[in-house]
Amino acid sequence: MIKFADVAKGDVLPAQTFPIRRVDLVKYAGASGDFNPIHWNERFAQSVGLPDVIAHGMFTMAEAVRVVTDWCGDPGMIVEYQVRFTKPVVVPDGVAEDSGARLTVTGKVSAVNEDGTVRVDLTAMSGGDGDGGGGEKVLGLARALVRLP
C-alpha cells in the first residue's frame, strides 16, 4: 500500500482503460436507479439532439476514480472527489466484444499537503488509442483528495 512519505508532486498513477458497452449502461441504470432513456434508447437520445446513446456521467465518474482507488489500495482513504461533466461519452451499439466506447483515465499527483493528504488530478479521454493518446476529454476539474497512511 502507498505511504504518504513515498509520494511526491508530479508522480504519475498507473493509467487504465475501461471499455463501456451498452450492457454496462443498462446494468448501471439498474444499480443506480437512473433510467433516463438517453443512456439506453438510441431513438430517444437522437430525438433530443444527441448523436447516439451516451454513458451516465456518474458512470464515467465511477470509472475514473478507480485509477485512484487501485493506486492507494483503500477506497476509504478518499476524502473528497469531484468532476465536471464537459463532454458526453457516446456509446455506439454493436455485437462485437469490443463494441461501444473506451475510456482512458490517467492520474497525476498535483499536490502533497501538510495535513497528510495528496491531491490527484485525473484526465479522462473517450476514444483515442487506449494509451491516453488522441480522443476527447470528457471530464473537467476531475480531482480526488486522498488521505494516505
Binding site: K27, A62, G76, I78, F85
Partner: protein, 153 residues
C-alpha cells in the same frame, strides 16, 4: 416559471431511512465493473481497518440523486426535468459508507442563478446515520437549459 434566487437556502425534510446492505454495494460494484474485494468481502475490508464492506466512492449518488428529485418535483420551483443536466458532482466524505449503515438524506438548495438564458442550481445532500453521524455530502451542479427563455414565454 423563472428560477427564483429566493429558493437558495431551502432545505427539504430528511428522506425515509435508506438501509445500505452488502448486496446493494456488491450490485453497484458489479455495475461499475470494479472487482475490488473490499466492496464484497468483509474480511478484506476488516484487514484495512473497516468494520464492514464499504461502498465505492460514487455509491452515494444512488441515495442522493433520488433524494434530490424532491427539488425537481417541487411545484413552487417548477422545474422541467427534461431540461435538467448534471453539470458537476462533488463528494466530501467524513468516512466511507458501510454496508450496515442506515442513512437519511437531507437536500438543501445552496444557490440559484440565471445567466445567458440558462438556470443554475447548486444543491447539497447530506447523508447522516440514524444516530446523527454525518457520513458524506454530495454537491451537484445542475443546469436548466433554456430556463430564462421558458420564463419569458
Amino acid at each position: 416559471m423563472a428560477l427564483d434566487p429566493g429558493f437558495a437556502g431551502r432545505t427539504y425534510p430528511p428522506t425515509a431511512v435508506y438501509e445500505v446492505g452488502r448486496e446493494k454495494i456488491r450490485e453497484f460494484a458489479d455495475a461499475i465493473g470494479d472487482p475490488n474485494p473490499v466492496y464484497r468481502d468483509p474480511a478484506v475490508a476488516q484487514d484495512l481497518g473497516h468494520r464492514d464492506v464499504l461502498a465505492p466512492p460514487t455509491f452515494p449518488i444512488a441515495i442522493t440523486w433520488p433524494a434530490a428529485l424532491v427539488i425537481i418535483d417541487d411545484p413552487e420551483l417548477g422545474l422541467d426535468f427534461s431540461r435538467v443536466l448534471h453539470a458537476e458532482q462533488r463528494f466530501v466524505y467524513a468516512r466511507p459508507i458501510y454496508a450496515d449503515d442506515q442513512l437519511t438524506a437531507t437536500v438543501v438548495i445552496e444557490d440559484v442563478s440565471e445567466r445567458m438564458g440558462q438556470g443554475f442550481l447548486s444543491t447539497r445532500t447530506d447523508l447522516v446515520t440514524v444516530d446523527g453521524e454525518h457520513v458524506v455530502s454530495g454537491y451537484s451542479k445542475l443546469v436548466v437549459v433554456g430556463a430564462a427563455e421558458e420564463a419569458q414565454s
